[in-house]
């Protein structure tokens, strides 16, 4: 076993000779394992790129589908919302009136029973 200092003193030629030493056993499946790791890495890279593209596409689509404001003036916009809310409350009023009518009817029926 060589120490760190001994390894640092080795020349490139020495390292090449050590590398060529056939006494060091190479795992039989080494060539199989390396490509698989590369494939996984490539797969993740493709997935990441696809996710980025989908994200950018979604962002672009979202911006393109954004409708244009009907009003430029916030006072006019406010007035339109106010009018719509008045309409909504009109609906609530009509529904409440029907409930009152029904209650009056139920009271009458109960009275004659």
């Amino acid at each position: 076993m060589k120490t760190l200092q001994e390894i640092e003193k080795l020349t490139a030629g020495d390292l090449q000779r050590i590398g060529a030493d056939e006494s060091i056993s190479v795992p039989a499946d080494l060539q199989v394992r390396l490509p698989r790791q590369q494939t996984t890495l490539r797969g993740w890279s493709i997935a990441a790129a696809a996710a980025i593209l989908i994200g950018l596409g979604w962002w672009g689509l979202d911006r393109a589908l954004q409708p244009k404001d009907t009003f430029d003036d916030p006072y006019l916009a406010y007035a339109a919302v106010e009018q719509a809310l008045s309409r909504v409350s009109g609906g609530v009023h009509n529904a409440a009136a029907k409930v009152s009518e029904s209650e009056a009817m139920i009271d009458k029926v109960n009275y004659w029973k």
Partner: protein
């Protein structure tokens, strides 16, 4: 690799699910002839929020605290029978596919008015009103972060006033 495909599929599905909104309905109908359409963007609502002391002119009820918590607003109204029928069906599909909860329904002589909300017991994040009165079909929708109690109180006050 299978995991990657599943992740990509989920991502695509989530994108498709997000695409279902009031905006899609607005985009589909707003340019059609005979359709009255109003859209108010979140940016416009931010501007409205900066206007001090707006008064509700048509009523004694002050809706401004509610309006200032809104972030988006859509109105579609049509008298065209074919477009109206299609809009009515689309809105019904939209509220059924979302997490909308029926708040109120009133029916009389074939006329229908329904209100739906999304949110929790304290907050309303989306409101939809669909009305079919005679030939007229109206869709009103607003999004925001609105206090449920305040919204219901204001609407009830305005209704009592009519």
């Amino acid at each position: 690799m299978k995991k990657l495909y599943i992740i990509l599929m989920l991502l695509t599905l989530s994108v498709t699910a997000l695409a279902q909104s009031g905006r899609d309905l607005y985009n589909k109908y707003s340019d059609k002839p005979g359709v009255e359409a109003v859209y108010i963007s979140p940016a416009m609502f931010r501007l409205i929020g900066r206007i001090p002391d707006i008064e509700f002119k048509d009523s004694e009820v002050d809706f401004s605290p509610l309006i200032k918590t809104m972030t988006g607003f859509y109105i579609l109204t049509t008298l065209d029978p074919a477009i109206g029928a299609s809009l009515y069906d689309d809105v019904n599909r939209y509220v059924q596919s979302g997490h909308y909860e029926l708040l109120m329904e009133a029916k009389e002589n074939g006329e229908v008015m329904r209100m739906y909300t999304v949110g929790d017991p304290k907050t309303v994040t989306s409101f939809v009103m669909l009305a079919h009165e005679g030939d007229e079909v109206s869709f009103i929708s607003f999004d925001g972060n609105m206090d449920r109690e305040m919204m219901e109180k204001l609407l009830a006050e305005a209704a009592a006033e009519q």
